[in-house]
C-alpha cells in the first residue's frame, strides 16, 4: 500500500474515532445508562456489574493473544519452539475452571435478579399502584384508565413516585411495549395480556415506543410518557375528562384503522370493560367487540 494512502487512511480513521468518542458525551441522552426509575436503575446496575465481571474474561484473552503473537512470531520471536507441546493438566484446569467460575458468579446474578426484576411483580411502595391498560394498534398506543374512566392515544400520564401497573395487549400484530428510561420491555400480543410494573422517581417527559417491527408506521409508533406530581396528575385527569370525546364502540372501530401517525387524543366516557372486550375479539370468550377484516400492513 502506498504510504500516502496509508497516511490518508489513518487520518480518516482518527476523525472517525474522534466522532465516536465525542458521541460518548451524547451518552447522557441515553435513557438506559441514565435511568429515571427504580426498575431501569436496577437493570442498569446489573448491566454494569455483569460487564465488569465479564471484563475478567476479556483481559486474559487479549493479553495472551497479543503476547503470544509477539513472542512466538516466526523469524524474530524470542519464545522457545516446542512443536509437540499439546497438553498440560495445569492449563486445562485453568481454561475449564476460569470460565466456569465466572459463569457461576453471573448465574447467581441471573437467578437473584430475574426474580427481583420480574416484570409481573408489583413494586413495593406505600401507595397503591395506578392501573393502566395499554393496547397496541396500527400504529399508535391506546391507554385506558379503568379507575378514572378515561383513555388517551399516544400519551401515558402517571404520578411520579407511585407504581404504575400496566396490562398490555395488542389489537394487531405482535408488538413490544417499552419506556426505556423506566425499565425493560414486554411483548403485546392479541388475545393475551402481559404485565409490566414501572415507576418514575421524578416528574418528567420520557419517550415510550414499540420496539418490535410491526409494519409501515412502526418508526412512528411512539408515545409520550408523562410523569407528573400527584397534583398535576389529578389536574391532568380532570383535563382529559373535560376535553375528551366519548370512546364508544363505533369510535373505537374507527380508531383502529391503520394510520402512519396519530396525534395525542383524549377520551372520556370510555366504553365499559373495553380492554376485556378487545381481548375477547380473539379469545372468543365473553363479550367481544365486532370483528373487522384485518388490515394489510405490507
Amino acid at each position: 500500500m502506498p504510504s500516502s494512502l496509508a497516511v490518508k487512511l489513518s487520518k480518516w480513521l482518527t476523525i472517525l474515532l474522534a466522532v465516536f468518542l465525542l458521541e460518548g458525551c451524547n451518552l447522557q441522552s441515553s435513557p438506559i445508562l441514565y435511568p429515571k426509575g427504580p426498575v431501569a436503575e436496577t437493570e442498569r446496575d446489573l448491566l454494569y456489574l455483569a460487564s465488569v465481571i465479564m471484563l475478567f474474561t476479556l483481559l486474559p484473552v487479549y493479553l495472551l493473544t497479543f503476547w503470544s503473537c509477539w513472542r512466538y512470531r516466526a523469524g524474530k520471536g524470542k519464545g522457545a519452539y516446542r512443536p509437540d507441546w499439546h497438553k498440560s493438566i495445569f492449563v486445562e484446569l485453568f481454561i475449564w475452571t476460569g470460565p466456569l467460575v465466572i459463569i457461576v458468579i453471573i448465574g447467581v446474578l441471573v437467578v437473584v435478579y430475574t426474580y427481583r426484576l420480574d416484570p409481573y411483580k408489583s413494586l413495593s411502595s406505600e401507595q397503591q399502584p395506578l392501573k393502566v391498560q395499554a393496547v397496541a394498534q396500527n400504529w399508535k398506543w391506546l391507554f385506558i384508565y379503568p379507575e378514572q374512566g378515561v383513555a388517551t392515544v399516544n400519551e401515558l400520564a402517571f404520578p411520579s413516585d407511585r407504581p404504575l401497573s400496566l396490562d398490555i395487549t395488542s389489537d394487531t400484530v405482535m408488538t413490544s411495549f417499552m419506556i426505556p428510561a423506566l425499565g425493560g420491555q414486554i411483548y403485546a400480543m392479541a388475545g393475551m395480556t402481559t404485565h409490566l410494573n414501572l415507576m418514575a422517581y421524578e416528574p418528567g417527559r420520557y419517550q415510550g415506543r414499540n420496539t418490535q417491527f410491526s409494519g409501515r408506521g412502526f418508526p412512528n409508533m411512539v408515545f409520550d410518557a408523562l410523569s407528573l406530581s400527584s397534583n398535576d396528575f389529578s389536574g391532568w385527569i380532570n383535563h382529559v375528562r373535560r376535553a375528551g370525546k366519548p370512546l364508544n364502540i363505533p369510535r373505537y372501530q374507527q380508531l383502529i384503522k391503520p394510520e402512519m401517525s396519530h396525534p395525542v387524543e383524549y377520551f372520556s366516557n370510555v366504553e365499559p370493560d373495553l380492554f376485556n372486550k378487545i381481548l375477547a375479539k380473539y379469545t372468543g370468550q365473553g363479550d367481544a367487540l365486532p370483528r373487522q377484516k384485518a388490515n394489510n400492513l405490507e
Partner: protein, 685 residues
C-alpha cells in the same frame, strides 16, 4: 395488495386468480419504486450477462458435463462456495443500502420507500443465513471432509448433488422475488401474525417460506449425508478421537442440521398452511398461537447459530496448528467442548424471547443454560491461544483471520452473556445492541472462519495458492469495517434505538449511523478485495502452483493428495494410526510413495438428475407462491418421476481403470523433484 385486487373474495386464499397464471399479473413487476425497479433490472442483466459470457466462451457443454452434473464432492463444494459468494454480494448490497438509508433518514423519508426498506432487511437476513453462510460452510465441508478422512467421496454422492441444487433453487426463488412480485417484509424470522395472510397478503412471505422449505430439505439431506460419511467412510485406523478437528466440527454441525432443520421445515410449512389454505396455527384468532411459532423457529434457530459457527471453529483449529507450526493444543478438550456446544445449543432457544412474559423460573433457567455455552466456547478460545504459544506463528491471511476472530469474538461473547441475563435483555432486546451482538458473533465467528478456510484450502481445490497481499487486504478491510460498522450500533442500543427503523427523529443517533455507514463502505472494499484476490491469483497462477499438494506443511490427510486431488482423491486408501495422520506419514517418509500397480476404482457417474430435481423444486416453489396449481402439480410429479428414473438407473457408477489411475499417479510423479526438494527443506521434527 393482491387480495384487494381480486374481484370478490374466495373462502380460501389459494383459490384466487386465474387458472393459467394464478395471481401472477403484470402488477408483479416492481414499478412501485425506482430503487426496486433498479434492483430488478440489475438482476436480469446480471443473469443475462453471465449467460452471454458462458456462450461467448463456448463453455456450456464443459460447464454442464464437468460441473453442473458432477457428483464429485470437491466440485459440488466449489459450486456451493460460488453460490455463497454471489449471495454474499447480494446480501451485502442489502446491508449497505440499509446503512445508507439510516445514515440519511433523520426527520425525512430517506431514499427508500418503507415497503422497500422492509424487504431489504428481510432479504439481508434471509440471504446471509440461508444462502450465504449455509452454502459457504457446506461447500467447505464438501471440499475438505472426505479428503480429511481418507475417503473417495461422500456416503451418498447423488444426494449431495440434490442438496446443492435444492439450495440453489431456494436462492433462485429469493432472486426471482426481486423481479416478480416482492419479498417478505416480516424480517428474516417471519414472526406471525404479521407474516400471516391477514396482515401480509401478498406473495412476499410465500417467497420466504418456499425458499426456506426447499433449501431446508437440501440442508437436512446434507446433514444426513455427512453424518453417514463421517461415521462410515473414514480410512481404516481413524478412530473418532483421531479425526481432525474440522471433521469433528463438521460432524457436530451435520447432527445439528439433521435434527434442527426439520423444526424449520415444520414451522415454515405450518405458516404456509395458514397463508395458503387459511388454517389457524399462528393467527391472532380462532385458536392460533403466535408463541408456538416463536418457539418452533428458535428451536431450529439457535442450533442454526452453531451450525454456522462450529465449522468455522474447525477451520480455526486447523489453521492455528498449521500456521503456528505446532500440534493442536488440548485436542480432547476441543472435541468435548464442540460436542458440548452442539448438545447445549438445543437447550437455550427461549433466550430469543425472554420478553414474551415467561415466568422468572423459565427465564432464569434459559438464561443460565445460555451462559453455560460460554464455558466450552471459552475453553476453545484458550486452546487456540495455547496452540500459538510455543509455536512459530506465520501470519498468513488465514492466520490473520483467526487472530482477528479471537479478539473480536470475545467482545461478542461478552455482550452475549449480558443479553443472556433476562433483566438486561428486557432493556436491550430489539435494539441495535442486539443487532451488533449477533453480527459480532457471526461475522468473526462464521464468516472470518469461512474466509480463513478459503485462503487455506484454495490450493487443494484448484492447484495454486491465493495472492497473499490481497488476502491481507480482505482481512484488513473486513476487520476495520466490522468495528466501524458495528461498534456504533452497540452505542446506539444504549441510546435506545430499535432495530429495523426506516426513519427516525432523534438527532443524537445520526453521527453514529454515519460512522456505521463508513464501516459498511470499508467492508465494500473488503468484498472488492475478495474478488480482486481471485482475479490476481488466477492471473498469476503459474507462479503460485502447488506441486507438492502440501503448500503449508500441513498435518491432516487432505494434504496427502495432489492439488487439485484426482477424482478419486486417494489411489490407495491410507492407513491411519494417529491424529495428524499426514504429519506421521511425513515423519516416516511415507508421504509421497508411488506404486507401480494400482487397482481399478469405482466412482459414481455424473448425472443431470440432481439439476433437474433442483429445477423442479424451484418451479414447485414458484408455482405455489403464485397459486399456479397446474404447474405445482406438474413439478411435484416431475420430482417423483426423476427420483424413480434415478432409482431404476442401472449404470450409476463408472470404473476408473487401473491404467488410468496409474497414469494419473505417474503424472504426479513427474513433480517428484519438486516434492523431494520441498521435503528436504522442511522435514518435520
Amino acid at each position: 395488495m393482491y387480495a384487494e385486487a381480486m374481484p370478490g373474495e374466495s373462502a380460501v386464499a389459494a383459490m384466487q386468480g386465474s387458472l393459467l397464471f394464478g395471481r401472477l399479473t403484470l402488477d408483479a413487476i416492481p414499478f412501485y419504486s425506482w430503487v426496486a425497479m433498479g434492483g430488478a433490472v440489475v438482476t436480469v442483466f446480471t443473469v443475462l450477462l453471465a449467460v452471454l459470457w458462458v456462450s461467448w466462451l463456448g463453455k456450456w457443454r464443459y460447464l454442464w458435463s464437468e460441473w453442473l452434473t458432477s457428483v464429485d464432492h470437491k466440485r459440488i463444494g466449489v459450486m456451493y462456495i460460488v453460490l455463497a459468494l454471489v449471495m454474499l454480494v447480494r446480501g451485502f448490497i442489502d446491508a449497505i443500502m440499509m446503512r445508507a438509508q439510516q445514515a440519511i433518514a433523520l426527520n425525512n423519508e430517506g431514499y427508500l420507500p418503507p415497503e422497500h426498506f422492509e424487504q431489504i432487511f428481510t432479504s439481508h437476513g434471509t440471504i446471509m443465513i440461508f444462502f450465504m453462510a449455509m452454502p459457504f460452510l457446506t461447500g467447505l465441508i464438501n471440499v475438505v471432509v472426505p479428503q480429511q478422512i481418507g475417503a473417495r467421496d461422500v456416503a451418498f454422492p447423488f444426494m449431495n448433488s440434490i442438496s446443492l441444487w435444492l439450495t440453489a433453487a431456494g436462492a433462485g426463488l429469493v432472486g426471482v422475488s426481486l423481479v416478480l412480485g416482492r419479498f417478505s417484509t416480516a424480517g428474516w424470522t417471519g414472526y406471525p401474525p404479521y407474516s400471516g395472510s391477514d396482515f401480509s397478503p401478498g406473495v412476499g412471505v410465500d417467497y420466504w417460506i418456499w425458499a426456506l422449505l426447499i433449501s431446508g430439505v437440501g440442508s437436512t439431506m446434507t446433514g444426513i449425508n455427512f453424518i453417514a460419511t463421517i461415521l462410515r467412510c473414514r480410512a481404516p485406523g481413524m478412530g473418532l478421537m483421531k479425526m481432525p478437528l474440522f471433521v469433528w466440527t463438521a460432524f457436530c454441525t451435520s447432527i445439528l442440521m439433521a435434527f434442527a432443520f426439520p423444526a424449520l421445515t415444520v414451522v415454515a410449512a405450518l405458516l404456509g398452511l395458514d397463508r395458503t389454505l387459511d388454517m389457524h396455527f399462528f393467527t391472532n384468532d380462532l385458536g392460533g398461537n403466535m408463541m408456538n411459532f416463536a418457539n418452533l423457529i428458535w428451536i431450529w434457530g439457535h442450533p442454526e447459530v452453531y451450525i454456522l459457527i462450529l465449522p468455522a471453529f474447525g477451520v480455526f483449529s486447523e489453521v492455528t496448528a498449521v500456521f503456528s507450526q505446532k500440534r493442536l493444543f488440548g485436542y480432547p478438550s476441543l472435541v468435548y467442548a464442540t460436542a458440548a456446544i452442539a448438545l447445549l445449543s438445543f437447550t437455550v432457544w427461549l433466550h430469543h424471547f425472554f420478553t414474551m412474559g415467561s415466568s422468572p423460573n423459565v427465564n432464569a433457567i434459559f438464561g443460565i443454560a445460555t451462559m453455560i455455552i460460554a464455558v466450552p466456547t471459552g475453553v476453545k478460545i484458550f486452546d487456540w491461544i495455547f496452540t500459538m504459544i510455543r509455536g512459530r506463528i506465520i501470519f498468513h491471511p488465514a492466520m490473520l483471520f483467526t487472530i482477528g476472530f479471537i479478539i473480536t469474538f470475545v467482545i461478542g461473547g461478552i455482550t452475549g452473556v449480558l443479553l443472556a441475563i433476562p433483566p438486561v435483555d428486557y432493556l436491550m432486546h430489539n435494539t441495535t445492541f442486539l443487532v451488533a451482538h449477533f453480527h459480532n458473533m457471526l461475522i468473526p465467528g462464521a464468516l472470518f472462519g469461512y474466509f480463513a478456510g478459503t485462503q487455506y484450502w484454495f490450493p487443494k481445490a484448484f492447484g495454486f495458492k491465493l495472492n497473499e497481499f490481497w488476502g491481507k487486504m480482505v482481512f484488513a478491510c473486513w476487520f476495520v469495517g466490522f468495528y466501524l460498522a458495528f461498534m456504533p450500533l452497540y452505542v446506539l442500543g444504549f441510546l435506545g434505538m430499535p432495530r429495523r427503523l426506516e426513519h427516525y427523529h432523534n438527532p443524537d443517533w445520526q453521527p453514529l449511523l454515519l460512522v456505521a455507514f463508513v464501516g459498511a463502505c470499508v467492508v465494500l472494499v473488503g468484498i472488492f478485495s475478495v474478488f480482486m484476490q481471485f482475479y490476481v491469483s488466477i492471473r498469476d497462477r503459474e507462479q503460485n502452483r502447488d506441486m507438492t499438494g502440501d503448500p503449508w506443511n500441513g498435518r491432516t490427510l487432505e494434504w496427502a493428495t495432489s492439488s487439485p486431488a484426482a477424482p478419486y482423491n486417494f489411489a490407495v486408501i491410507p492407513q491411519v494410526d494417529s491424529l495428524d495422520a499426514f504429519w506421521a506419514m511425513k515423519e516416516k517418509a511415507e508421504a509421497y510413495s508411488c506404486k507401480d500397480h494400482y487397482d481399478p476404482i469405482v466412482m459414481p457417474k455424473n448425472t443431470g438428475v440432481g439439476v433437474f430435481i433442483g429445477g423442479a423444486g424451484f418451479l414447485l416453489g414458484f408455482a405455489i407462491v403464485w397459486y399456479i396449481w397446474w404447474l405445482a402439480a406438474l413439478s411435484l410429479l416431475a420430482v417423483i418421476g426423476l427420483l424413480m428414473f434415478r432409482s431404476s438407473q442401472k449404470e450409476a457408477y463408472e470404473i476408473i481403470s487401473a491404467e488410468t489411475v496409474l497414469s494419473i499417479e505417474q503424472a504426479r510423479v513427474r513433480h517428484y523433484p519438486e516434492v523431494q526438494s520441498a521435503m528436504s527443506e522442511r522435514s518435520p521434527s
